[in-house]
């Protein structure tokens, strides 16, 4: 007979406790979200009691701190979208290429050195990046792009892209190297070149991890503040032209919350409305990518 009510019941109890603790850790993320929504909503509600949502969403100007106040969030959304897009356009090809190159082409020791070196890029304070964009990248680009303003979305986006390269390269490389060796062998055994192995087998097999790295990178770009605050100007403007000054939601929020605007005023509350917009924005983005990922995974899992 095998025994069940053994001395291991303490073990069983601790198993339950551990599971409970783990569950608690996971649900903390919900509490954080609830907290954020609460913080954002509590002030946004009184904001929207003074400013109509229709105006907020359709007005094409954002001038809440001027005497002539206009509360159209679109210019900030456009700025956020623009810089994020540029950053991802820089970071995705470069980061993924690096990940594949390191995994499939580079020698093991080379990879072991390069990977952490690149990760340093993500650790440089963003203030430094901001000044780099303003004082190095913009003047450099101005030599080729005549119409480029001193403050612009382009330099800020490019530098932000450089900053998030290691997010994509390191996490994607991790994902690719976690693909079982047998798959790689199968691909090479069929006469694949390294490139074909990478794109035909490794990248698809690691797609979930790669997608995650991209989402994280996008999220980081959306939430980044200092680079855009310093290098992109602070001019809310409804445009997708990367050559002119713009303002992003994050920049606006940090400027106002660290600025001299009286707290509790309508002007101050705009940051919560803007924050809420960003929150909804990323929420939609994440839902879409989650949905894509789901669909994609179901096919092969």
């Amino acid at each position: 007979m095998f025994h069940l009510n053994s001395t291991f019941s303490t073990l069983r109890k601790s198993e339950k406790i551990i599971e409970g603790l783990l569950w608690l850790s996971a649900t903390i993320t919900i509490l954080v979200t609830v907290g954020i929504i609460w913080v954002l909503l509590s002030e946004s509600v009184s904001f929207f009691s003074e400013v109509s949502i229709v105006e907020f969403l359709t007005e094409k100007e954002w001038t809440p701190l001027f005497a002539d106040k206009k509360f159209g969030i679109l210019p900030l959304v456009a700025g956020t979208f623009l810089t994020t897009f540029i950053a991802i356009a820089v970071a995705l090809p470069i980061g993924l290429t690096i990940a594949i190159y390191l995994n499939e082409y580079a020698h093991g020791t080379f990879r072991a050195i390069i990977k952490p070196l690149l990760e340093v890029l993500a650790t440089i304070p963003t203030v430094v990046y901001g000044f780099f964009a303003l004082t190095v990248v913009t003047p450099f680009l101005q030599q080729f792009i005549p119409g480029l303003a001193g403050f612009n979305a382009l330099s800020a986006g490019i530098v932000m892209g450089i900053m998030i390269i290691p997010m994509i390269s390191s996490l994607s490389e991790d994902a690719i190297s976690a693909v079982p060796r047998s798959l790689r062998e199968a691909a090479y055994g069929m006469g694949s070149t390294r490139l074909q192995t990478a794109f035909g087998v490794m990248v698809p097999a690691a797609s979930s991890g790669i997608l995650v790295s991209i989402i994280l990178a996008i999220s980081r770009a959306v939430g980044e503040t200092m680079i855009v605050a310093i290098a992109a100007g602070q001019q809310p403007r409804l445009t997708l032209n990367p050559l002119v000054p713009i303002e992003t939601i994050t920049t606006y929020i940090v400027q106002v919350s660290l600025g001299d605007v009286p707290h509790g005023s309508l002007e101050y509350r705009t940051i919560f409305a803007a924050g809420l917009t960003l929150f909804i924005f990323t929420f939609a983005l994440n839902n879409i990518s989650f949905w894509i990922k789901k669909k994609y995974q179901e096919k092969y899992d």
Partner: protein, 285 residues
């Protein structure tokens, strides 16, 4: 040209492109490091590391700032590591693929995109005001922990996922409980990936100024913190503060402080790289 020649050229071309991309990263990094070093290395000396803040750039030091940064780093790691890994383990190993799990997944990815300043506002409301921690190290570390939690969770989940089913099966078949399997097999095998995530996360935390300012971290603190409930400043605040001063000499100070900040993160990275390498030698399937 035959098809296979084309493939070979593509392969070669990609290799060159790969080297090129890697070089871009490295060159930019080198430019940064050299630029910062040129600006700031001369400023770093014993006095700079041991002096208190001052209006005179030449006698201002970063003692309280780096002490605060170290405190924040350690506290944040201590808080965020178990929380993040715990949440990831729960989501990956325990939770069924239910609506709730889906919701949690989206929710976490979502949190990763919330700008840091909003975490600052959250921390101000919850930790500083409701929990009455004031502008203390603990309040700061809690705020930053929430900020980096999503990064840790997401990356940890990915590395847990990468542990082959067969290893888990082997463990369960020997009578291991769920937690024993996780503790003895899954976590050790995914340790390398988890570390990468935590480093990326902490590196982000260590560079943040804005949310800490919002929760009430200070710029001028003439004493190094001795308990988690003390007031504090951190290097990024000092750097941020100095870069906005009119005097050129403060910019040099900022560069010096950046070097110190980078050294701290290098040290952190170094430890992690070492652990990761050791790990990769052990785990290969």
């Amino acid at each position: 040209m035959t098809n296979s020649d084309i493939n070979r050229y593509k392969d070669k071309a990609f290799q060159i492109f790969g080297i090129f991309c890697t070089l871009i990263g490295l060159v930019v990094l080198a430019v940064f490091l050299i630029d910062i070093a040129i600006d700031g290395i001369s400023r770093i000396d014993w006095d700079f590391l041991t002096s208190l803040p001052s209006r005179r750039a030449s006698s201002a030091g970063i003692y309280t700032a780096w002490a605060g940064t170290l405190w924040i780093l350690v506290l944040t790691a201590v808080i965020a590591f178990p929380l993040g890994v715990g949440a990831a383990v729960y989501l990956e190993e325990y939770s069924r693929k239910t609506k709730l799990a889906n919701f949690l997944e989206i929710n976490i990815a979502n949190l990763a995109g919330v700008p840091s300043i909003i975490y600052g506002l959250l921390g101000l409301e919850i930790f500083v005001r409701q929990m009455r921690l004031g502008g203390s190290l603990l309040a700061g570390a809690l705020t930053l922990s929430l900020l980096i939690l999503p990064i840790i969770i997401v990356t940890t989940r990915e590395s847990i996922k990468a542990v082959p089913r067969s290893v888990r099966d082997g463990s369960y078949a020997l009578g291991a409980s769920k937690w024993q399997t996780i503790w003895n097999q899954v976590l050790p095998a995914s340790f390398g990936g988890i570390l990468t995530g935590i480093i990326l996360a902490l590196s982000r935390a260590v560079g943040e100024a804005a949310p800490l300012i919002v929760i009430g971290a200070l710029a001028y603190v003439p004493f190094a913190p001795t308990t988690p409930l003390d007031e504090f400043t951190v290097l990024p605040i000092q750097i941020f503060n100095w870069t906005s001063r009119p005097q050129e000499a403060f910019l040099t100070n900022a560069a010096g402080a950046i070097i110190v900040l980078l050294c701290i993160t290098f040290l952190l990275n170094g430890i992690a790289v070492y652990l990761r390498l050791r790990q990769q030698k052990k785990v290969k399937w």
